[in-house]
Symmetry: C2
């Protein structure tokens, strides 16, 4: 990206939210403080280990805030920082694009894997 001549900030955005799970985590936390187990449930299919790791990164990058309620059993929730909210706003178009094109892409994926086999 260092040699790019056009202004593209995707390297920056991707540094924060790149990967399989971070975009989804950010999306699902947008409605307010969300508990670890609830984040996991909303996303589906992510292991506790990977979720913990990804949340830790997002907190470190200042887009998520972690609040420990000091209870037993533990109660911890995660919410977007103001900074994080700006990022999620930038993610929404991509989310909507996905929704609009879900059927089409599903078909494409099937065709693509057929071509690989054939």
């Amino acid at each position: 990206m260092e040699q790019s001549e056009t202004p593209c900030g995707l390297d920056v955005s991707l540094e924060i939210m790149g990967g399989k799970w971070k975009p989804l985590i950010l999306y699902h936390v947008q409605d307010g403080p969300t508990r670890f187990s609830e984040v996991r449930r909303l996303i589906g299919g992510i292991s506790e280990k990977v979720l913990a790791q990804q949340l830790r990164d997002l907190v470190a990058m200042g887009v998520l805030e972690r609040r420990d309620h000091h209870r037993v059993p533990p109660v911890v929730d995660y919410s977007l920082t103001p900074f994080g909210k700006t990022l999620v706003e930038a993610l929404i178009p991509l989310c909507e694009w996905g929704n609009r094109n879900r059927a089409h892409v599903t078909k494409l994926s099937r065709n693509a894997s057929r071509m690989k086999i054939g």
Copy 2:
């Protein structure tokens, strides 16, 4: 994602453009037909092998079109399909977000790696 209760199409978008290089490729091809070597130059830091692989995927998913000019030396260019254009449009907010927050994120990255060492 299957168990998600809120409509989030990010799984779909990420299926097409997920990963280190695809977003950047899509961004850099938006101005019209772009040759393999030019894509590589614009992006910077990507190997020929990985570029070829990523372009192949994007063509397979119908967001890029490959045109071979049947010359020697070979002349091949890649351009966005109409479908691909809609995707790049959805990527622009993320790109702009990255540009706006580049300095802030650079600082965060430095702090994050310091914390890991310390």
